[in-house]
């Protein structure tokens, strides 16, 4: 009996031992070489351009890649050529062990351009390499005079302090950067007379009863100061910030009236400087020191704005006339440097803006967000979010899937709901459709918001033209 029990127990253990082996060798990617860019604007190549190929990992052995060149209304040696030279329309490029990128020279032979129907398609057709290879990813690159087919971009918002506002033009595949603390007020260039405040610095404003700016003193506003701020968790504090949906008729500062008596003085919380500390990896340090308080009053001056501004304790004020710039959404002004400053590109030359942003949490009021993405609603860029389903995904989403009625009158189509700050990942269950200022439809998916070392403030996204 006793030995039986023992034998049984031992048997059970042996049984369990034998039955639960797991295999966990790590799967590897195939070796891939692909074009850095899917499409290149011919008009940006007056003479020649280095074409870059990217390796999925440093090559473990020597090898060779073959690229086929085919022109449309363009022929090799006449309209374009390459260095090294192609043989029979195929360019062969050797690489050596340890190499992780590769260049060849594309020469434009038709400058000044004669015909904008000319294009050249370059295509990876073979990778000779010992080890598993695959032709995948950006396998082709098109040099043409057409809009961008899409790209993978890494807007440089400045790491965990997120000091930059990055304006992206999808169809031109360009990015423009501006420090987010160079401006305080934006004067709308459209039909209305409206003034926006810099939400990326967490500014807030409150309309005062006074119309005489010199009569406003620290004592007359001190009762409001704890309230006129972002993130106080008072639901009514949204009155002190611009409507986060981006609609110009919902700014915190009321429309500037032609009747000066209706233009009150505003108490201005200048928000915070750009943070300069290095927070733990994965987190942000957006806000630095408080930038203090100002008072302003804005009047009309014909088709221009007249800005009066002063420090809170000042009994006099400065006055400056600010003109509208019709090619731009706003004319930006810095109270700090007392200058008109350049911030956004022309309104038709940007679609998305990566920036810190003052959003709201329903029921809790304004709340400062990092990693925010805005669409240029004021210039008519609209979009909507698409949920990934078993039928619809980023890759198969086509023009037939676009639903016009879904486009939103809101600049927060992408917003901050694209990343999970707790897991450090971008959500993969959603992507976005963006209709740009030129009427192009792009699908956009967010990929990362941390760099490889886990540091915040390194967004990465991919977009593709929907055709």
């Amino acid at each position: 009996m006793k030995s039986k029990i023992l034998q049984l127990a031992l048997f059970l253990i042996l049984f369990v031992t034998a039955s639960c082996e797991k295999d966990y060798t790590v799967e590897q990617n195939p070796f891939v070489i692909a074009f850095e860019r899917q499409s290149i604007d011919f008009s940006t190549i007056p003479d020649q351009r280095e074409m870059k190929l990217i390796f999925s990992e440093p090559a473990k052995t020597d090898g060779k890649i073959s690229i086929k060149l085919s022109g449309t209304h363009a022929s090799y040696g006449v309209d374009f050529s390459t260095l090294p030279e192609a043989q029979g329309g195929v360019l062969e490029l050797p690489f050596t062990k340890g190499q992780s990128e590769l260049f060849f020279t594309f020469k434009n032979l038709i400058y000044p351009f004669d015909n904008d129907e000319k294009s050249i398609l370059m295509e990876v057709i073979a990778i000779n390499y010992t080890g598993e290879t695959s032709i995948q990813g950006y396998t082709t690159s098109l040099v043409s005079f057409q809009r961008s087919l899409g790209a993978t971009l890494l807007p440089e918002i400045g790491g965990p302090n997120q000091g930059n506002q990055i304006f992206v033009d999808l169809s031109k595949e360009t990015m423009t950067s501006s420090r987010r603390d160079v401006w305080d007020l934006g004067f709308y260039s459209g039909d209305q007379f409206r003034v926006t405040i810099n939400g990326s610095l967490y500014m807030a404003v409150k309309k005062l009863d006074a119309t005489n700016i010199d009569a406003v003193t620290p004592a007359s506003v001190s009762a409001f100061q704890s309230q006129v701020a972002v993130g106080t968790f008072d639901p009514t504090n949204t009155n002190y910030v611009d409507a986060p949906n981006g609609l110009i008729n919902q700014t915190a500062i009321a429309e500037i009236s032609a009747n000066d008596a209706e233009n009150n003085v505003y108490l201005v919380n200048m928000g915070y400087t750009i943070g300069n500390t290095t927070p733990p990896a994965g987190t942000v340090a957006i806000a630095g020191d408080a930038r203090g308080w100002k008072k302003i009053r804005v009047l009309r001056d014909g088709d221009n704005y007249m800005l009066q501004y002063a420090d809170l304790n000042s009994t006099t004020h400065q006055q400056v006339t600010i003109a509208k710039k019709p090619d731009y959404n706003f004319t930006f002004f810095s109270l700090a440097t007392q200058n008109v400053v350049n911030v956004e590109p022309q309104k038709n030359l940007w679609d998305l803006c990566f920036t810190v942003f003052t959003n709201e949490i329903q029921g809790s009021g304004s709340y400062g967000y990092s990693d925010f993405v805005l669409n240029n609603l004021k210039a008519g860029v609209k979009g909507y979010r698409v949920a990934v389903t078993s039928a619809v995904n980023f890759n198969n989403f086509a023009m037939a899937n676009v639903v016009e009625s879904n486009f939103m009158d809101d600049q927060r189509v992408i917003g901050a709901e694209w990343r999970d700050v707790f897991t450090g990942s971008a959500y993969t269950d959603r992507f976005y459709v963006i209709k740009d200022t030129d009427g192009n439809y792009y699908k956009v998916r967010m990929l990362e918001f941390l760099n490889e070392g886990g540091v915040r403030g390194y967004p990465k996204f991919e977009y593709k033209l929907i055709q």
Binding site: E36, F233, G453, G454
Partner: protein
């Protein structure tokens, strides 16, 4: 010398019996439980029967039958205690009367043992190894007078072995366990190796040393381990793997009138925390990814030195017991990024995560007057705890917190034996500290022994709980948040009243029984909770605000009949929380009950003991906020059932224990009793165990 006398003459009962202690290591079931000797809260070690306190004892034999390696292995089966494993930190927390580990103390040989978050409290039960211990004593209720701050819900005192009847004792063992269904030699299961050597250098001088390695390979469940590349939550382990190394030694010098011992312990634990979150780093250019995970290795190292002298100054003179101790425990963190496909570490950062360094001394003196009816004990307990916590461990405004807390306590109590029936023991302790206002702890215990064999005990006690670092030093103030600790917090105030009615019945030589009915009431006032101190702008701060109340009844019964012993217990308790901190609160009592039973049957002819342990944890309720209203959340009931067989071979030299833990295969328990956090949803189930598992332990005893 009868067996009973042998036990009483053990080392713990100082100065009464001369010569070398005859204590037997393996108290086999024949021991009459009624004569257990206890140390906790006593002037001198004495029998349970005499004790004014009510002390629960878990004997070495109990531990051996369950093949318990650490405290968490054993306490699962104890009434009023709930072990809460934290699979994501690898720690095991514990609740006593529903209060967490901040409210009770773990002591080793009467002094609190350090861990990386505190001294005595906040102990991770898996870090307390049991291989060199004699018995575990549990006292429920506020024990502030005898054990100082944080002994609110009770104390667990672990008494180590300090003698042997053999000149040489060499005891190696190996223990192999499955973790649920998982087991292999490489990366699954639990593997324990241990060796202990004891030696009597002379009839006065005893020493021992032991080394144990406990390699817990983690609970995989559906998780895929370290080298899994997808970001679907499956990377890592359900329950973190960890390796523990433990080396301990003891030197004891015992004479007729005093004993000196020095005890040393080195403990190291390494826990691998593999993140379930994988940063995919998909690159559309090559359509390949480069998955990276942020992993962490925590390693805790503890050093423990304890020098103790006890005895009496002369044959009938003053008794003393004085301890000096230095202890430290440091938890280090190694953070790194792991490039999974390449199996490569980068961005490695090493830092001290948390630590406690403690200078400690405790002494008590009794028998000032040579008097049968009156005894007075006076004692002191002083310690200096240097605490450190990195800014990464909490919201400390990016600052590492380093603080020193010095405590100077004095206490006194007296035991008055009015007659052989009635004795009382009033006590008081003053707790002075460098940080908090002077606190007082009070106690009053009384015992009445009826002629009919009934014993009635009443024990009233108080103890404060000191605020922790989070409560004192949290500071997170930014554009969107204002959450602050409160350096001006006062200690929480705990108070308990226990009544125990006990009856021992001996029907004949073969059959005896003990029955005990207990009732208690306990409350903790000035509980510290985070509250809103300003609505606009919103400001949170820790404050002394809430009240916690619990009462209960329990009935425990023990019976011995020939080779059979059995225990059966049931407890019924209610908890009420007065949450002035909450917008919504309900202070109705919520009731729960627990039931435990164990039995063992010895077959002397075979050298075999069959044992079974069962504990039923009834449903537990808690008020939780759901969509703006308070609801009564429920945690489903569950039962722990363990069974073991222990058999000796080769003239008792070889001891084999085989068994099964968690026979009912408990893993997760459904619950609606958890609240959603600020940035997280309410859980729907909690992990309680890793399912049915089996073990075999082979122990060899070489006694010369």
């Amino acid at each position: 010398m009868g067996f009973k006398l042998k036990i009483c003459s053990g080392l713990f009962l100082l100065g009464t019996v001369s010569g070398f202690a005859q204590e037997n290591d393996s108290i086999v079931p024949k021991v009459n439980k009624l004569d257990e000797v206890v140390v906790t809260g006593q002037y001198n070690p004495q029998s349970v029967k005499k004790s004014v306190f009510e002390v629960k004892v878990i004997t070495r034999a109990d531990i051996d039958r369950q093949a318990g390696n650490n405290l968490a292995d054993i306490l699962n089966q104890t009434l009023n205690i709930n072990i809460i494993p934290n699979a994501s930190t690898g720690k095991s927390g514990v609740q006593l009367f529903g209060l967490d580990a901040q409210y009770f103390k773990i002591l080793v040989d009467n002094i609190p043992v350090v861990n990386d978050e505190g001294l005595g409290n906040n102990t991770d039960l898996t870090q307390i190894n049991l291989d060199d211990i004699q018995q575990i004593e549990i006292v429920e209720g506020s024990m502030g007078v005898d054990y100082g701050a944080n002994a609110v819900s009770g104390i667990i005192n672990i008494i180590t072995k300090k003698s042997s009847q053999y000149k040489w004792e060499v005891t190696p063992y190996i223990q192999e366990e499955t973790v649920g269904k998982e087991y292999n030699f490489a990366d699954k299961g639990r593997h324990i190796q241990s060796i202990k050597i004891g030696h009597n250098f002379s009839d006065k001088f005893y020493g021992n040393a032991m080394f144990t390695r406990n390699d817990f390979k983690g609970f995989w469940n559906d998780k895929m381990g370290e080298n899994y590349v997808n970001n679907d939550g499956l990377r890592g382990y359900e329950w973190l793997p960890k390796v523990q190394l433990n080396a301990k030694s003891l030197l004891a010098y015992t004479t007729k009138n005093y004993r000196l011992f020095y005890k040393f312990e080195f403990f190291q634990e390494t826990t691998d925390r593999y993140s379930a979150d994988v940063q995919q780093n998909f690159d559309p250019v090559t359509a390949t990814d480069n998955p990276i995970a942020k992993d962490e290795i925590y390693s805790s190292t503890r050093y423990y030195h304890h020098l103790n002298a006890s005895g009496k100054l002369s044959e009938n003179g003053l008794n003393y017991d004085v301890s000096f101790s230095y202890q430290e425990q440091t938890r280090d963190l190694e953070k790194y990024n792991y490039r999974i496909r390449q199996q490569e570490h980068f961005g490695t950062e090493k830092l001290e995560y948390e630590s406690r360094k403690v200078y400690y001394s405790k002494g008590f003196f009794s028998n000032f007057l040579k008097n049968e009816t009156f005894n007075l004990q006076a004692g002191y307990e002083v310690n200096s705890v240097k605490g450190y916590i990195t800014s990464l461990a909490g919201l400390f405004n990016g600052e590492n917190i380093e603080r020193e807390l010095n405590s100077y306590d004095v206490y006194t109590s007296s035991e008055i034996n009015f007659n052989k029936h009635f004795s009382i023991r009033p006590g008081v302790r003053m707790l002075l500290s460098s940080k908090f206002e002077t606190q007082a702890a009070l106690s009053l215990s009384a015992k009445y022994a009826f002629d009919s064999g009934y014993e009635l005990r009443a024990i009233v006690g108080t103890a404060p709980r000191l605020p922790n670092f989070d409560e004192l030093y949290t500071y997170m103030v930014d554009v969107n948040h204002n959450i602050q600790g409160n350096p001006n917090l006062n200690p929480e105030q705990g108070k308990s009243i226990f009544l125990h009615l006990k009856k021992d019945t001996k029907f004949n030589e073969a059959f005896s029984m003990q029955n005990k009915l207990s009732g208690w009431f306990m409350d903790v006032k000035d509980r510290i909770e985070m509250i809103i101190i300003q609505q606009s702008p919103l400001v949170y701060q820790y404050n002394n605000i809430d009240v916690y109340k619990t009462w209960g009844l329990s009935l425990t019964n023990t019976a011995q009949y020939k080779n059979f012993t059995g225990n059966f217990g049931v407890t019924f308790s209610g908890i009420s929380k007065v949450l002035d901190s909450g917008v919504l609160s309900n202070d109705d009592y919520l009731y729960a009950f627990q039931l435990n039973a164990n039995t063992s049957y010895t077959v002397p002819k075979w050298g075999t003991v069959f044992s079974a342990y069962v504990k039923y944890n009834g449903p537990q309720y808690q008020f939780v906020e759901r969509n703006g209203t308070l609801e009564r959340g429920k945690q489903n009931p569950f039962t722990w059932l363990d069974a073991t067989i222990k058999k000796t071979f080769l003239d008792k030299k070889l001891e084999a224990t085989v068994g099964a833990r968690n026979l009912l295969d408990i893993t997760t328990i459904n619950t609606t009793a958890t609240e959603a956090g600020a940035h997280s949803a309410a859980g729907t189930n909690i992990l309680m165990g890793y399912g049915r598992s089996y073990f075999v332990k082979l122990l060899y005893k070489l006694n010369m």
